[in-house]
Amino acid sequence: MCLGIPGQITELVDLEFLVAKVDIGGVKRDVIITCVVDDEHPAESCIGDWVLVHAGFAMSRLDEEEAARTLALLAELGDMQAEMEIMRQVGASA
């Protein structure tokens, strides 16, 4: 019940009631976008944005840069730690 599904906003359906069409894995559904609209992100600018949809409401904007950063960190993690280990060993024997 607490899980959400990522979807992409494809069109605005009703500007007054903040309803948008969201493509969720190929299924298009009307979704309320009240929680992801503010002065910085007016409804008109939302098309193409990725959002997390829960029970018919877009609850959060998906920050793609942050997602990419997390993945980059994860990818580097093993290598970075291995390198630090070598540095530590070299440092200790120097």
């Binding site: 309320i32 029970a55 793609e64 942050e66 990419a68």
Partner: protein, 380 residues
């Protein structure tokens, strides 16, 4: 979704698991294994689905928490739902999970089979649409769940208010995560060392409501997403905190969870809801300040007041779960599902006796689905 596959990459998972093992073997000085609670049932599901528990070192143990809205629902609340659905002229609407939870008399699904108008909806807005189409009937939406679901029910109520709809109401059974966590932390039977905090609750409330966990109880906490790499990274972050002697609230799920939460969602929650003095949760008993009720200003949309229901929340409901079912102990993390005498015997997903077997997010359903029917299998 663009990044879905990347967050499930087995090679990266392997690296992370190796890092967790390395940290655990070199930096954890405790004799007893670290007990880490994943609060959210969604996390429990990921742990099982990807076999993450079996990849962890022996000195890290996961404790499955009570963070499944359906699972913490006392039988008395299901009875109340059935009582509402049985009232003449009522259309009772709810999320699918709640339909199968047993009450003492029957589930909502059985009530439907017996002729009540019980309808499953995907969204509270669907319930509102039913109310618009049926002006002569009272449409009640069963509003339950932690903070993830609260903004959607609050915004739906506000929409009904804007439209002046007279035949829509909420049966409000929402609960708050921080107060539930506090109840767990004060439970003398539980020895916990840290938390994986729920990602989608946190997307609404932000990171700061957890500050008391580190400040007052000195337990590190990491807000976590639901992909396998999210969970592994969060575990790595948590073990790193232990290794470095830190105790902080950290946010692994920053791509979804803003530090301050969701402003519009929090505003709707504050407008519509207030704290209820007493609330009973299955397994945790009465927890002060965790339950939520509709403010007096919106009493016209409060099913409790509108329909004059046959129960008294103010006194705290009586859960009366059957004694032979150990749902309460499993929910509190002091018993594993396979230790319950009914588990996988009389209680199974086809015929669930307890709520933990109903929802896929429930730990009994997760244990059953992934074949962990007994201890010997769990350790394989």
């Amino acid at each position: 979704m663009k990044y879905m596959d990347e967050f499930r990459d087995p090679a990266t998972a392997k690296k992370l698991v190796a890092e967790i093992h390395k940290l655990a073997s070199t930096s954890l000085s405790q004799r007893e294994p670290l007990q880490i609670m994943e609060f959210c049932g969604g996390h429990t599901h990921t742990l099982f689905k990807y076999g993450i528990e079996s990849m962890l070192p022996d000195n890290i143990e996961m404790v499955h928490g009570p963070g499944c809205p359906v699972c913490v629902l006392p039988m008395a609340r299901v009875d109340d739902c059935v009582a509402i659905a049985e009232q003449p002229g009522v259309i009772f609407t709810t999320f699918g999970d709640a339909m199968r939870v047993p009450g003492t008399r029957k589930s909502l699904l059985q009530a439907k089979a017996d002729g009540c108008d019980v309808r499953m909806v995907y969204s509270p807005m669907d319930a509102l649409a039913i109310a618009r189409k049926n002006p002569e009937r009272e449409v009640v939406f069963f509003a339950l769940g932690f903070e993830t679901t609260m903004p959607s029910t609050a915004l739906t109520l506000l929409q009904a208010h804007r439209e002046g709809l007279q035949n829509f109401s909420l049966f409000c059974n929402h609960i708050t995560t921080p107060a539930t966590m506090r109840a767990i932390l004060t439970d003398p039977d539980l020895r916990l060392d840290g938390f994986l905090a729920p990602g989608h609750v946190s997307m609404v409330i932000g990171a700061h409501p957890y500050d008391f966990v580190t400040r007052d109880y000195h337990k590190p906490l990491v807000i976590t997403g639901f992909e396998p790499l999210d969970i592994l990274q969060a575990l790595w972050m948590l073990v790193k905190q232990f290794a470095e002697g830190r105790c902080e609230v950290e946010n692994q799920y920053a791509r979804i969870v803003p530090e301050a939460g969701n402003v519009a969602g929090l505003k709707a929650i504050a407008e519509v809801y207030e704290t209820r003095e007493h609330s009973e949760f299955r397994g945790l008993g009465n927890i002060g300040d965790a339950g939520i009720q509709i403010r007096e200003a919106y009493a016209a949309y409060d099913a409790e007041k509108k329909l004059g229901l046959p129960f008294d929340f103010a006194q705290g409901a009586v859960g009366y779960d059957p004694e032979h079912l150990k749902c309460a102990d499993v929910l509190r993390g002091v018993m594993k599902p396979w230790e319950c005498p009914a588990f996988a015997k009389t209680c199974n997903p086809q015929n669930p006796l307890g709520a933990l077997m109903v929802s896929p997010e429930g730990s009994c359903a997760a244990y059953y689905a992934y074949g962990k029917l007994a201890k010997r299998k769990e350790t394989v």
